[in-house]
């Protein structure tokens, strides 16, 4: 599965310009140039790819067709389903077993709550586990939360909720310290100073990492700690929340949970519920391949939306500039931004730079698409995909032999499995669907507009505005997971649940009828359908 002779011809051109490029910095784009580039080549700006929602709190607003289809669909559960019984009762129900769900569970437990955590796959099967590059926090002397704030809000095109950004940047160092105290092995200098590097759109070196298993290290630490508290946190794997339960006062009082193996439904009654179901890359917007894990199908958006929660910025998705474009077996999988953070440049078929490698993700992705589709300067693979080179061999030249092996073991292993040596040869990349920039509207405590319903993690909108910076997602899952956990536990002490109902489903059906919609599908979809495909 190594590169073809034709691809090697292009690699020779990359090698020919390499020594000269080591000292070269491609100029950054001006604000106007960025704007123009995004409008012409970013997938968010393709009008045909979007639908206008016809029902629900976001009626009249745009979202991709694939998301509109699930948001406007019917519930798996019939509105006359009996929700009067109780199969499991708890103070706080956490839906989702990734980083946000786990940090929420830990903090809810620390604040006196009994917790049930339900998750569709295994605990830890989540995008958190796959995040490689790092986590931002302004803890170095030359940096500050204020500068971090400016980077976040500028990168997000000023559409961010200022209060959420403030919480994000001010909690960041505390989150790192919390994880350090739980034993997460961040990359450090011998005196304990954190090793931090740049990411796209950062104005200070603020990216903390744990080799290139940063997310995995955080996820397995959180998961291990949840397991240590199994007396108070009951984890139910292979169990999907398929519908929320509201009471006669409109408060959320739990969820209907499907046992994915027996297909039975269980009623989990909770004083407070936290949605932490993550993103939706497996809906494959605009046909894009994705970096996301198998279960990323936007379930939490669907549940919250049907219950009446507004969604923010669901008309913008993040396309990671560097998804694998070769070999075909790993098409679309993440090539961490840390590769660019460590100095690798992006080059076209001629071996020539066309964009600074440290632009924000949306701008960088648009530049890659322009190079391939707009200028026909991409490299075509045997299976007909297209990409540009990410010059990983530069890293050892810039930072000393062995850097790639030490700092990017997961990447080296990923490609080695398919016969590509990224220490020696560059990586062929093309933008891939990576992140849901928007989601459920929350306040600084993770509270949604529905009483006693909280949300945290990728399912939330507003923190990152219209574009998230690298390293702010591993951060936000912890910041808002912890906040939602604390708030839900405190709130659970005073909640007076009313009579459980599925009245919101009756009203949903009415809305569908009034809009003349006969949706053929039911949602949440829970898994993508790859059966019989290749």
């Amino acid at each position: 599965m190594t590169y073809t002779p034709k691809m090697y011809e292009s690699i020779r051109r990359v090698e020919a310009t390499r020594s000269e490029r080591l000292s070269e910095t491609f100029p950054r784009l001006s604000a106007e140039e960025k704007e123009e580039l995004l409008k012409a080549f970013h997938p968010d700006f393709i009008p045909e790819a979007f639908a206008t929602l016809r029902v629900g709190p976001n009626k009249g607003r745009r979202t991709p067709h694939e998301l509109a289809a699930v948001l406007e669909s019917r519930s798996i559960i019939s509105s006359d389903f009996d929700v009067s019984r109780t199969d499991l009762e708890t103070d706080v129900l956490v839906i989702g077993g990734g980083g946000a769900g786990s940090s929420a569970a830990l903090m809810a437990q620390e604040n006196g709550a009994k917790v049930v955590l339900v998750t569709k796959l295994r605990h830890g099967d989540a995008n958190t586990m796959m995040a490689q590059g790092g986590i931002q926090a302004a803890d170095q002397p030359q940096d500050s939360p204020t500068i971090h704030y400016l980077d976040v809000i500028g990168g997000g095109h000023y559409a961010n909720d200022p209060g959420l950004v403030e919480a994000l940047v001010k909690d960041a160092p505390d989150v790192i310290q919390w994880l350090e105290g739980m034993g997460a092995m961040f990359d450090k200098k011998p005196d304990g100073t954190m090793v931090t590097i740049h990411g796209g759109g950062t104005s200070r070196k603020r990216m903390h990492s744990a080799r290139d298993y940063s997310g995995a290290e955080i996820m397995r630490t959180l998961r291990d700690e949840v397991r240590n508290r199994s007396e108070d946190i009951f984890v139910l794997e292979f169990s999907s929340a398929v519908e929320l339960i509201l009471d006669d006062k409109g408060q959320c009082v739990g969820a209907i949970v499907e046992n994915m193996e027996t297909e039975e439904y269980r009623i989990v009654r909770a004083k407070c519920t936290i949605i932490a179901t993550g993103g939706s890359g497996r809906l494959h917007y605009q046909g894009f391949a994705t970096t996301n894990h198998y279960g990323a199908t936007g379930d939490g958006l669907v549940l919250a939306y049907r219950a009446g929660a507004e969604l923010l910025h669901v008309d913008t998705m993040q396309y990671h500039p560097t998804g694998a474009a070769f070999p075909e077996q790993i098409l679309g999988l993440l090539v961490t931004e840390k590769v660019r953070g460590l100095g690798a440049q992006v080059l076209n078929v001629e071996g020539v730079q066309f964009v600074n490698p440290r632009e924000t993700r949306d701008v960088e992705a648009a530049a890659l698409i322009r190079e391939c589709k707009g200028r026909s300067k991409g490299v075509v693979t045997p299976s007909g995909f297209e990409g540009v080179w990410l010059d990983s061999p530069m890293i050892d030249l810039l930072r000393g032999a062995g850097t790639v092996a030490r700092a990017l073991p997961a990447m080296v292993r990923q490609f080695e499995r398919f016969g590509v040596d990224i220490v020696k040869d560059p990586i062929l990349v093309y933008p891939t669907l990576h992140y849901q920039n928007g989601g459920i509207k929350i306040d600084v405590d993770g509270a949604t507009e529905i009483p006693n319903l909280y949300a945290a993690g990728e399912v939330v909108g507003g923190i990152h505005g219209r574009n998230r910076l690298m390293g702010n997602s591993l951060l936000d899952i912890n910041v808002f997971g912890r906040r939602a956990g604390v708030a839900a536990a405190l709130r659970a002490r005073e909640v007076q649940p009313g009579k459980p109902t599925l009245q919101h489903l009756v009203e949903w059906e009415k809305q569908l009828q009034e809009a003349d919609l006969e949706p053929p599908d039911m949602a949440p979809v829970l898994f993508p359908d790859y059966v019989g495909k290749r």
Binding site: P173, R413, R417, V531
Partner: protein, 228 residues
């Protein structure tokens, strides 16, 4: 890859399916009609959900791989090990110390390790599991933490271990002990947390929060960027 690709036989739990040879085991199972539930997670080699045991007809050796990262081969007999009943001991990290005694009291079976190396042969991450178990027997927590770092906790080592060790849980205990007690703490981090708690940045941030988009954009577009 091409339309003309010739199909090859693979055997999923003994049953034959004809699949394109360019697929991973995971995609070949889906191609064959399986809707995966267990045995599928990140699909990218990070989560350990898809540990797979296989043998090629005519070869006595058992092989291992992650279904998402291993290509099918002709006459591959495969089964997934989506769950393994390995024991996870609970402990309170803030109440223990990073000493060999801690490790031996939480997982006394560490000392039963035979050093046979089956674990190393069983690791889809090519981790030298035997070596970190040797370090564990010496009570060298830092070495276990370092050598086990790339572990994705798929459980294949434990599944094959004749001494019934749960290597991956020993690994994470040592990593957490190392991260909390042995690695030097980041002093600058602790200082910054205190500064924030004392409200040092409140006014600056409040000023940015009150700014209109144009002023913010002006500030953002002219901010200085730390050189490499």
């Amino acid at each position: 890859m091409s339309e003309k690709e010739e199909l090859i036989p693979i055997y999923i739990m003994g049953k034959q399916y004809m699949v394109p040879p360019s697929l991973t085991i995971q995609k070949a199972m889906e191609y064959s009609g399986y809707k995966l539930l267990r045995g599928c997670g990140c699909r990218a080699g990070f989560c350990g959900a898809c540990g797979t045991l296989y043998r090629i007809a005519g070869d006595y050796r058992l092989k291992i791989g992650l279904a998402c990262a291993t290509m099918v081969e002709p006459n591959m007999y495969l089964t997934q090990i989506p769950f393994f009943p390995g024991e996870h001991k609970t402990y309170k990290l803030d109440k223990i110390t990073a000493t060999p005694e801690t490790l031996f009291s939480i997982y006394p079976e560490v000392l039963r390790c035979l050093q046979c190396g089956t674990c190393t042969k069983s690791c889809p991450q090519d981790i030298d599991v035997r070596a970190y178990m040797a370090a564990a027997m010496r009570g060298d927590i830092a070495a276990v933490a370092d050598k086990s770092f790339d572990c994705i906790m798929c459980g294949l080592c434990a599944a094959r271990c004749p001494a019934e060790e749960v290597q991956y849980n020993i690994g994470i205990l040592c990593r957490r002990l190392y991260g909390r007690y042995i690695a030097p703490r980041a002093q600058h981090l602790a200082e910054r947390v205190e500064e924030i708690q004392a409200g040092k940045y409140d006014d600056e941030i409040a000023e940015l929060m009150a700014m209109g988009k144009e002023d913010l954009a002006q500030r953002y577009n002219t901010r200085d960027i730390e050189p490499d």
